[in-house]
Every structure is written in structure tokens, then in C-alpha cells.
């Protein structure tokens, strides 16, 4: 095979892997949107907050150390312990559940029946608040996240492809792990929503709030549940992205990258989030590879949005979304 084609294949594969990472964030969006009709802009910041908290627990940082030091003129920094990764992850998951309860109690409860755009703006406000809170709790410096996931170039893939094509593909180990994790996540979410009591309640709420209320499903409990799940999905995304590029502010911007994924896949479809992610991932990598050099590069910043924009003009509900029906 010609080198150019092989190279394009490698780019495509890497695009698929990058797409999986986008899908991980997009999943959280879809969950919340389906269950409550809220377009949760704060999903990316949730991922950042989860990753910051995880690193904080692992390194035994004192929460709010910076603030306490400033107020009481002390000099705190760490408790001086190192928690094993699994304990820290469980603790962080607990924090995310707590956060879901707080969000429901102080924000969502008061915004029932508001138009979707007001709720959207409220989540932007929450995103700012959480970003500030995360920085104050754990400090704003770039942190390294290491929970023992494999990193670096996968030598197996390289040697296998080398023996087949005579050209070794460079695939990041972490991307392979992310793909497996995403697959597991989607599988377990599907099983949860199809075969458990709460999963069914969740789907009922997604279908019709009022009908669900009338058969005795607690809307508030379902919201806490769904925000907790979204928080844990954010934690998974935070671990993957944090391991890949360090825990820093730019992590919250992946939320913005997940938006075109959702628009492509449809806001209400979990498979849509995956397929949309893959299309965006492959599309932007191939575009950068083929057209990018001609127009100055760094097209990854906007390609996804423009693709989604063009796509929406033709199919406003996305690939797998429910058809939008409007009545006066």
C-alpha cells in the first residue's frame, strides 16, 4: 500500500480515538438532557472539578488551603498522605453525588417550568461557580493526574501493523483504554436504563415529566440520580483527559468540543453521542491532514462547529435525535 494511504489510515484511527474522548463528555450531556431537558453547559467544568478533586485527594491536599492561608495567615498545603488511586476515585465519586444533591436543592428545584434557555444560562452560571470553587479548593496550577493508566505509544499495535503493512501505526495506549472504558460505560448505562427499576423510572421521566409524576415517581430523586450519574461520567472523562493533557483550565473547554458532537448525533440519543463523536474526531483529523496545511493549520479549533452548523441546516434534530414537532 502507498505510504500516503497508510498515513491517512493512521490519521483516521487516531481521529476515531479522539472521537471516543469527545463522546465521553457528550454522554454526560445526553443523560441530563434526556432526563430533564436541561442543556448542561457545566458538564465540562464538572469533568475539570472531578479531576481536580481526584488529584487533590490522591496527593492529600488540604481543601481551600489557599483561602485559609490568606485569611488566617497560616501555611497549610498538604495532609502529607498519598491515597491509593481506587480510594481517591471512590471519594471523588462521593463528592460528585454530593454535588448533584446540592445542585438539585439550590438550583434546579427553583427553576422548574422555566424555559429551556433560562436553564441553559443557569448552567453557564453554575459552570463559572464550579470553576472558581475548584480553583479555590485545590489551586489553579496545572496538575499531573496519574491513576495508573498506561500511557505512551502502544508497541503491540506498532509491531502488529508493522508486520502486516510494513509500516507501524502510532496509537496512544491511553486512547485504547479510553475506547474500552467508553464501550463499558455505554454498555452499563444501557443495561441500567433498560433493566433496573430506577433506569425505567429515568426513562419514564425522560418521556413525560407529568405522567411520571402521576404514577408516583419522585422527580427530584430522579434529577439527583441523573446528575450523580452525569457527575460520575464527568469523573471518567476527567480521568481520561486529565491523564492525557494534565488537569488544567483548558479541560473545561472540552465541553465546548462536545457540543458539535451532540448536534451531529442528536441531543437525546446515547448511540448518537458515540457516533457523533467518532464523526467529529475523524472529520477534524482528516480535514487538518488534507486541507489544513493549505489554509494555515489549527483548523481543529473550528472545524467541528462549522461541520455541525452546516449539518444542522439540513437536519435540525441531528442524526439520531427525535423529530422536533412544534405546535402553537
Amino acid at each position: 500500500m502507498p505510504d500516503q494511504l497508510l498515513f491517512a489510515m493512521e490519521v483516521t484511527l487516531n481521529g476515531l480515538m479522539a472521537g471516543v474522548m469527545y463522546s465521553l463528555v457528550a454522554l454526560g450531556f445526553v443523560l441530563i438532557f434526556k432526563a430533564s431537558g436541561i442543556f448542561n453547559y457545566a458538564q465540562g467544568v464538572l469533568a475539570l472539578f472531578a479531576a481536580l478533586t481526584l488529584v487533590g485527594f490522591q496527593d492529600g491536599q488540604v481543601p481551600f488551603a489557599h483561602l485559609i492561608n490568606a485569611v488566617f495567615k497560616t501555611n497549610l498545603s498538604t495532609f502529607g498522605w498519598h491515597l491509593p488511586a481506587i480510594v481517591a476515585i471512590l471519594l471523588t465519586a462521593a463528592v460528585m453525588v454530593l454535588l448533584a444533591i446540592i445542585i438539585e436543592k439550590f438550583v434546579l428545584k427553583h427553576l422548574v417550568n422555566q424555559p429551556p434557555i433560562i436553564l441553559f444560562m443557569a448552567t453557564i452560571g453554575m459552570a463559572y461557580f464550579l470553576e472558581g470553587l475548584g480553583d479555590i479548593m485545590w489551586g489553579a496550577d496545572i496538575k499531573k493526574l496519574d491513576v495508573g493508566l498506561p500511557q505512551g505509544i502502544s508497541e503491540t499495535v506498532e509491531s502488529v501493523t508493522d508486520s502486516i503493512f510494513g509500516y507501524g501505526f502510532f496509537i496512544d495506549n491511553l486512547d485504547i483504554v479510553a475506547t474500552v472504558v467508553a464501550a463499558l460505560l455505554v454498555l452499563s448505562l444501557t443495561l441500567f436504563s433498560q433493566y433496573t427499576k430506577y433506569g425505567r423510572a429515568l426513562r419514564a421521566v425522560a418521556d413525560d415529566h407529568q405522567a411520571a409524576l402521576s404514577v408516583g415517581i419522585s422527580l427530584r430523586f430522579i434529577w439527583v440520580l441523573v446528575w450523580s450519574i452525569a457527575g460520575i461520567v464527568a469523573l471518567v472523562a476527567g480521568i481520561m483527559w486529565g491523564t492525557k493533557s494534565g488537569v488544567q483550565f483548558s479541560l473545561s473547554l472540552i465541553a465546548l468540543k462536545a457540543l458539535p458532537v451532540l448536534m451531529l448525533g442528536g441531543f437525546t440519543s446515547i448511540p448518537g453521542a458515540i457516533v457523533g463523536g467518532l464523526i467529529i474526531g475523524v472529520g477534524e483529523k482528516l480535514f487538518e491532514f488534507t486541507i489544513g496545511p493549505m489554509i494555515g493549520g489549527a483548523t481543529e479549533n473550528w472545524f467541528a462547529y462549522v461541520l455541525a452548523l452546516v449539518f444542522l441546516v439540513f437536519r435540525p434534530q441531528g442524526l439520531f435525535g427525535e423529530k422536533i414537532i412544534e405546535r402553537v
Binding site: I124, G125, L259, G296, L312, P316
Partner: protein, 358 residues
């Protein structure tokens, strides 16, 4: 007690439909204008101009523009930063290409060019709505910023990739460049703001504004009663972008002087102006001023208190500011979705009756 309307008779329709029908309101408005034009320019110094007044005036223009689109026409846009960048770069290209033309004309032309770009990115609004549209406008934000970063023609092939405003004068006074005085900057922005605010106020209470509001409240119903969604939505996009473009041009040429596009006109700017509109009050010109004043003053205030008073680190103050802004957005949306403008209106109602509420 205040706002006594007894004896304030209207004998013509023109009097009845004026912007400030209550006498006290009208006189206060004249007083504010008189202070803004007659007192502040003589007292202003560089710190006050750069930290408070000039950003307030420029953000007010941008907030009015965004309020026309979001508050009056109901089309949420997250591309404000990108459109401000269009205004800034258009102004820069015009300033360097036609140095003999007055900067006032350049600023307005820059607004016109931005209106054209806004029109283009407004086209999808005919097909998609709500937050789908909000996300689609992100395409404008990222694409425009990338464009101004990557195409050297826009920044005249300068080595740094920055654009910097050449010196220009209005009526013999420098308004851009290093030799400007605080009062010249202030007055230049103030004149443009007052003109544009007057225009916006009159647009929004005329046919155009009523059509926008009909589309905002329910677009299908509006279409049925004969409002053309194409021209209405696109005119909202164009006029809103005009205001935002003018704000961008002033932000670059008068306020900052030199601009790096990603830094000055990034996504954060889009959110900042959206917050001004939400906190100030959706669908209110006064709200645009209130929101801009609030979000310009809040960081200055917090910085003075936290850093100046308590001696905390600046980054800590910045994080607390983020939290406060975020919390305020949520609180405003819960308690008063119509923002400061609505609070002001309620206060006015109370004052009409005070101190005898029955």
C-alpha cells in the same frame, strides 16, 4: 412621595408615548446626560477612564447590541466575541487603508461590515432555534478568531500578529494612540453610546422592535399573524452585530490600542457580555447599562477590597470573582429572571406609593 404624577397631564399622543412619560424620570435623564457630558470630562483621570468609564461605555454598546438579539428577538448568541473581533479588524484595516478619513466614520463602517458578517451567521437561525442556535453561533466565534489569527492580511503582515491603532484625531483631539487624554477617550465613546442607545430605544419601541418581540414570544404564532421571520430575524442579527461591531472597534482602537485576537475577543468575552445582558435585564435598554456597569464595577470593587484591603493574592481574588459572578447569574435567574432592570422597575412602583402604601 417621589414620582408624583398628579398634575402631569398629557394632551397629545406624542407626549403620551415618549420614552420617559413621568416628569421626574425625564428630568433625571437630562440630569444624567448633563453630568455625563458637563461634569465627568473635567474630573476624569487616566485610572478612572481606563478602569471604569471607557470599558463601561464600550460594554454598554455591546450589551445593547446583544440585548437586541437575545432580549428582544430571543435568538441566543455566543458569538459576540467573534463579532467584536470583526469590528476591531475592520476598523483597523479601514484606519490603515484610508488614513485621511475621520475615525468616527471608520468606527461606524466597521459596525456596518460586522452587520454583514452577522447577517451571514444569522442565516442558520431560520432553521434552528434555542440552544441549537447558541451552539451554532459558537462556530462564528471560533472560526472568526481563527481567521484573524491565521490570515496575515488582516493584521497587515505585522510580525507579532497583533494589531495596534494608529493615532487619529477628532476635532483636533487625539482619541486613539499614545497621546490621548482620558477625557477625549471618554467623550468619544460617550457620544457614540448616547447616539446608539437613543437609536436602539426608538427601534425597539417601533415596528421593528414589536416584530422582534413577536418572534421572541412565539415564532410560529408570529409568522401566522404576518411577521416575516426571514427579515425579522436577519434584521435583528444585522442590527445587533452593528452595535457589537462598533463596540469591538472602540474596544480595540480607543480602549486597548493594541489587540491580540484570541486574548481580547475569545469565548470569555462572549460570555461576559451575555452575562451583562442577563444580569442587567433581558429586553431592556436600561438593563444593558445596568448589567455593563455591574460587571465592570464588580471586579474593580473586589480587587480593591480583597487585594487592597485584605492583602490577598490576585489569583485568589480572581477565583472568588468567578464564583460570585456564577452565583449571581444563578441567583438572578431564580429570583428575578428579568434582572436589575426589573428590580429598578419594582423599586419605582414602591416609590410612587411611599410612604403611604394604601
Amino acid at each position: 412621595m417621589f414620582y408624583r404624577e398628579a398634575g402631569d397631564f398629557k394632551t397629545t399622543y406624542v407626549e403620551d408615548s415618549q420614552t420617559f412619560p413621568i416628569k421626574l424620570d425625564r428630568w433625571r435623564y437630562y440630569a444624567v446626560l448633563a453630568i455625563a457630558f458637563g461634569v465627568i470630562p473635567f474630573l476624569i483621570n487616566d485610572y478612572w477612564a481606563n478602569a471604569v468609564f471607557v470599558p463601561f461605555l464600550i460594554y454598554s454598546i455591546a450589551a445593547i447590541g446583544l440585548n437586541i438579539l437575545v432580549g428582544y428577538c430571543g435568538q441566543v448568541s455566543l458569538g459576540t466575541g467573534g463579532f467584536m473581533a470583526v469590528g476591531a479588524y475592520a476598523c483597523y484595516k479601514l484606519m490603515t487603508a484610508f488614513p485621511e478619513v475621520s475615525i468616527l466614520i471608520h468606527v461606524l463602517l466597521a459596525g456596518g461590515i460586522t452587520a454583514g458578517v452577522g447577517l451571514l451567521f444569522g442565516l442558520p437561525s431560520l432553521r434552528i432555534k434555542g440552544f441549537y442556535l447558541a451552539v451554532a453561533t459558537l462556530a462564528a466565534q471560533f472560526f472568526l478568531v481563527w481567521l484573524f489569527n491565521k490570515v496575515p492580511w488582516f493584521y497587515n503582515y505585522s510580525a507579532s500578529g497583533q494589531i495596534s491603532a494608529p493615532e487619529r484625531t477628532v476635532l483636533g483631539h487625539f482619541v486613539t494612540g499614545a497621546n490621548t487624554t482620558a477625557s477625549a477617550k471618554y467623550l468619544f465613546c460617550l457620544v457614540i453610546l448616547v447616539g446608539l442607545a437613543w437609536l436602539a430605544r426608538n427601534l425597539t419601541r417601533g415596528t421593528a422592535g414589536r416584530k422582534w418581540m413577536a418572534i421572541r414570544d412565539m415564532d410560529i404564532a408570529a409568522e401566522i399573524i404576518g411577521v416575516n421571520p426571514l427579515t425579522t430575524k436577519l434584521s435583528a442579527f444585522a442590527i445587533s452585530s452593528f452595535y457589537i461591531g462598533v463596540a469591538g472597534a472602540l474596544f480595540f482602537s480607543v480602549y486597548l490600542g493594541a489587540v491580540e485576537v484570541g486574548e481580547a475577543f475569545g469565548i470569555q468575552k462572549s460570555f461576559l457580555i451575555l452575562f451583562m445582558v442577563i444580569i442587567g435585564g433581558l429586553g431592556s435598554i436600561f438593563g444593558s447599562f445596568a448589567g455593563a456597569a455591574f460587571l465592570v464595577l464588580l471586579p474593580v470593587f473586589l480587587k480593591n477590597v480583597l487585594v487592597g484591603q485584605f492583602g490577598w493574592a490576585t489569583d485568589l481574588a480572581a477565583h472568588i470573582e468567578l464564583m460570585i459572578v456564577g452565583a449571581l447569574i444563578v441567583i438572578f435567574l431564580i429570583a428575578e429572571p428579568h434582572g436589575i432592570a426589573q428590580l429598578w422597575k419594582l423599586a419605582k412602583e414602591k416609590l410612587r406609593l411611599w410612604p403611604f402604601p394604601h
